[in-house]
């Protein structure tokens, strides 16, 4: 049974994404909308990770010893300036997508396992992850012309 690996992976991905949001907020404090929104979204990700914890424990006992190659580092600290902001947002965009597809997979497994508690967690969280992606996309689309064409 490999569900535990996925649950652990998602818990770590959400924790990393929370740190990414906090990092981008702090690193681009002068972009006040990003500072505030990123802080709110970091809180969402932390709550997601927390909600996953009991299921990591529950399924962890049956965990396989498959070596874990799911992890990859996407966000290595904030860059500066308009272009830096764009690239930082793009890193988070990829990280949020990793969470998004993991929620889908875990939702599938939860259905197969008839685990209603886990399904409730998936239902509550995956919509927030989808909105995080939409926000990142909206903000990047807004920033791209100025950052790529005009800013020095």
């Amino acid at each position: 049974m490999h569900l535990a690996n996925y649950l652990e992976y998602l818990r770590k991905a959400e924790t990393d994404l929370a740190q990414g949001f906090r990092g981008i907020g702090e690193g681009h404090k002068e972009e006040v909308d990003i500072f505030h929104t990123a802080d709110t979204l970091a809180g969402q990700c932390e709550a997601h990770a927390e909600k996953l914890a009991p299921f990591c424990e529950k399924y962890g006992e049956e965990s396989s010893t498959e070596p874990d190659r799911l992890y990859h580092e996407l966000f290595g600290g904030t860059r500066s300036g308009g272009l830096g902001l764009l690239r930082d947002l793009q890193d988070l965009y990829l990280m949020a997508h990793a969470c998004d597809i993991s929620w889908t997979m875990i939702g599938q497994a939860a259905r197969g396992a008839r685990d209603e508690d886990l399904l409730m967690v998936v239902d509550a969280c995956e919509g927030q992850t989808a909105t995080q992606i939409k926000w990142l996309q909206t903000r990047m689309k807004q920033a791209a012309p100025q950052a790529l064409l005009v800013a020095s």
Binding site: E30, E31, V32, D33, H36, T37, T40, L41, G82, T131, Q132, K134, W135, Q137, T138, K141, Q142, A144, P145, Q146, V150, A151, S152
Partner: protein
């Protein structure tokens, strides 16, 4: 729904960064209509992202990627949050600022070029009220000195820039307000704000008329949506919507999936606590607002003797128990400070909520003895932050502290009488 007629008609016609006649920037058909109407290449119309809002424009100017700003009929050096920041951006060497207004405002004082403009009664044009009533306001007297109607300034600019349509003909073909109105009517055809049934003759023959006014409603429309049919169809709507927490744009597919079909949407949003709650060193919730006697930054109303006499000077309102605790009595001079700035005002002890202080935002510096001393405007203290959907700055939620500076000498605060509850 807008607060003022000028806000209503500037939003309708696209002067606030939205597209004219409530067109949707994310709807290719709407963009095509505009391109046809103006005979321009579709690519000249910026439709790639939501309009760049004012707060973001200021940020780009601060960073230096905007080097030219033309400010028309608004006074950000008093009306925007965190005024020291706004002043420092306006003063930047690498930002060329043009201000077009009817008086030498606080903003105009910081401009590189001032374009003196005419006011109502000195120029002809229509206003649309917040209830959609279109009024014609005709020129009665010539503008003073070098002041020119705003339209003449824009037309002169277009001529000098030699703007052309896609056939190489002049882009702007109008010269008079009535011709502009006729062009605007075409732009509104079939849109919620349909003006096609109006003309100057009709507007002169009676009072104002409420849009939509067209073949179907030749005398205008007093009440909207009495048939419970709203402008929410995907091809018709002004926006596909946004997430209320983050401002994330919904796509056409998202919108279509909700099967709007003329139904109204009521969206719920979860409570989000303010970003700067009161704390030990800044224990009050600081909020700003208006008095009946002044309009916005009082550019006009402070010059009207009767209005100015009714509310001549800034004041701060405070609850009696908060005042007791700080030893503040009616009329005492106090300093109000936030992490960003401070002001001085006389205290009005009022029925305001405990823990909250209020300062009206109308007062700036143009009528002060020394306009370089900045201890009066409410927005010295406010926070640079805005609502993610409306982009409205959050003027009502800063933290502040209040300190008594001097006694009242028996005179009450210069606040107008409290309104009756």
């Amino acid at each position: 729904m807008n607060g003022q007629p000028t806000a209503q008609n500037t939003r309708e016609c696209g002067a606030d960064g939205d597209l004219p006649a409530f067109r949707n920037w994310d709807n290719r058909e709407h963009i095509k209509e505009l391109a046809r109407l103006w005979n321009v290449d579709q690519l000249t119309i910026p439709d790639w992202a939501p309009p760049t809002h004012a707060m973001q424009i200021w940020r780009y100017a601060e960073q230096g990627s905007i080097e030219f700003m033309w400010i028309q009929c608004t006074n950000p050096a008093v009306s925007l949050p965190e005024l020291h920041r706004i002043r420092s951006i306006l003063k930047k060497e690498d930002l060329f600022v043009v201000v077009q207004d009817i008086f030498l405002t606080e903003t105009a004082r910081l401009a590189d070029v001032v374009l003196p403009a005419a006011t109502w009664g000195e120029e002809t044009g229509t206003y649309t009220n917040a209830d959609r009533t279109v009024h014609l306001s005709e020129k009665a007297v010539d503008p003073p000195g070098e002041a020119r109607p705003d339209l003449d300034i824009f037309l002169d600019f277009a001529r000098r820039m030699d703007f052309r349509d896609r056939d190489g003909n002049p882009l702007i073909t109008w010269e008079h307000p009535e011709q502009v109105f006729e062009a605007w009517k075409e732009c509104t055809r079939g849109r919620p704000c349909d003006y096609t049934g109006l003309d100057y003759k009709k507007l002169r023959s009676g009072s104002g008329v409420q849009w939509p006014c067209n073949d179907e409603h030749p005398e205008g429309t007093e009440r909207l949506y009495s048939d419970n049919d709203f402008h929410t169809r995907t091809g018709d709507c002004e926006t596909f919507g946004q997430d209320l927490l983050t401002g994330a744009s919904y796509t056409e597919a998202d919108h279509r999936a909700t099967a709007p079909d003329g139904r109204a949407f009521l969206r719920a949003a979860s409570y989000v606590p303010p970003r700067e709650p009161p704390r030990e060193d800044y224990p009050f919730r600081y909020t700003t607002g208006r008095t009946l006697y002044h309009f916005h930054t009082s550019t006009k109303t402070a010059r009207a003797p009767q209005l100015n006499a009714a509310a001549p000077e800034v004041w701060m309102e405070m609850h009696p128990s908060d005042a007791d605790e700080l030893g503040i009595s009616e009329g005492d001079l106090v300093s109000v400070e936030s992490p960003r700035g401070s002001l001085e005002a006389r205290a009005r002890i009022s029925g305001i909520r405990e823990g909250v202080v209020f300062v009206p935002f109308h007062y700036g510096y143009f009528d002060e003895d020394d306009p370089e001393v900045h201890r009066r405007a409410a927005n010295e203290l406010t926070i640079t932050q805005w609502d993610p959907v409306s982009k409205q700055p959050m003027f009502k939620m800063a933290a502040a502290r209040v300190t008594r500076i001097a006694g009242a000498d028996g005179t009450p605060a210069p606040a107008p009488p409290a309104r009756r509850e």
